[in-house]
């Protein structure tokens, strides 16, 4: 985009291909791109809710679609994407928080990330255990 769009910023530096310049940029984009698939998953659930309201036949159709190989493949990809989101979320978290002091010293960034990732592993496992417990 180098077109003149704003009188106060007459020149916009071309930005095409900026993300190829540094591996950090690629990781940043991977983190941001998880949002596209997170939105897709929310829409899949919203559609399921819609079908639920339309009655048993409609909802069973939705369940049938979930059993199809493309859907299972998509959800396997979603699993990886959500895991990466989880990791990158807690990787970035210390940079977005004010400094935390514990026993008189600043809590190092990797410690905050490790606490976050551990919490994510524990809560995710608890949710799965809760669901396996619900069925018995």
């Amino acid at each position: 985009m180098s077109a003149q769009t704003d009188k106060r910023h007459p020149y916009l530096r071309p930005i095409r291909g900026w993300w190829k310049r540094d591996r950090y940029y690629i990781r940043y984009l991977a983190m941001e791109a998880t949002s596209i698939l997170i939105a897709l998953y929310a829409l899949i659930l919203l559609f399921g809710l819609l079908r639920l309201g339309q009655g048993e036949a409609a909802f069973n159709g939705w369940l049938e679609t979930l059993r199809s190989p493309p859907s299972v493949a998509l959800h396997s990809l979603l699993l990886l994407v959500f895991a990466y989101h989880s990791y990158s979320w807690f990787k970035v978290m210390p940079k977005t928080l004010p400094a935390i002091y514990w026993r008189g010293a600043k809590l190092p960034q990797p410690v905050i990330t490790r606490i976050g990732v551990s919490a994510a592993v524990i809560v995710n496992l608890l949710v799965i255990i809760l669901f396996t417990g619900l069925q018995s």
């Binding site: 939105a39 998953y41 399921g48 819609l50 299972v72 979320w89 949710v127």
Partner: protein, 118 residues
């Protein structure tokens, strides 16, 4: 000074990011792999009567609404940032379309949940 409405979107972004970081993997596994393939979980778990009962309970409604709405608000803010990074600047138009769609889906989820009754 004109008050900015941005903090609202950032709070929703943060809440959705945290909820999906803590529960996303488990939810995708349960709804997309475990139940459809009967892996660790019984397909009965998400049968029509079970899901209807869940969605008619106030706590079930809250869970479903929080997951759908917060995941979407989280994703919307990041998608707008992503568009910005590729030269589509987050002007009023793209923000209006993005946030408008997220709001529309949020209202749809609320309406569908209320329509299912208690």
């Amino acid at each position: 000074m004109k008050r900015s409405n941005e903090p609202v979107f950032w709070v929703l972004f943060g809440a959705g990011g945290m909820l999906s970081a803590l529960t996303g993997v488990a939810l995708v596994f349960v709804t997309g792999i475990g139940v459809p393939l009967a892996l660790l979980l019984s397909p009965e778990l998400m049968s029509y009567p079970n899901m209807l009962a869940f969605a008619q309970h106030w706590f079930g409604k809250l869970v479903i609404f929080a997951v759908i709405a917060l995941f979407l608000w989280h994703a919307t803010l990041r998608i707008l940032l992503l568009l910005h990074d590729f030269g589509i600047r987050a002007g009023p138009a793209s923000a209006l379309i993005g946030n408008g769609l997220a709001l529309l889906c949020t209202l749809a989820a609320a309406y569908l949940l209320l329509a299912l009754g208690f």
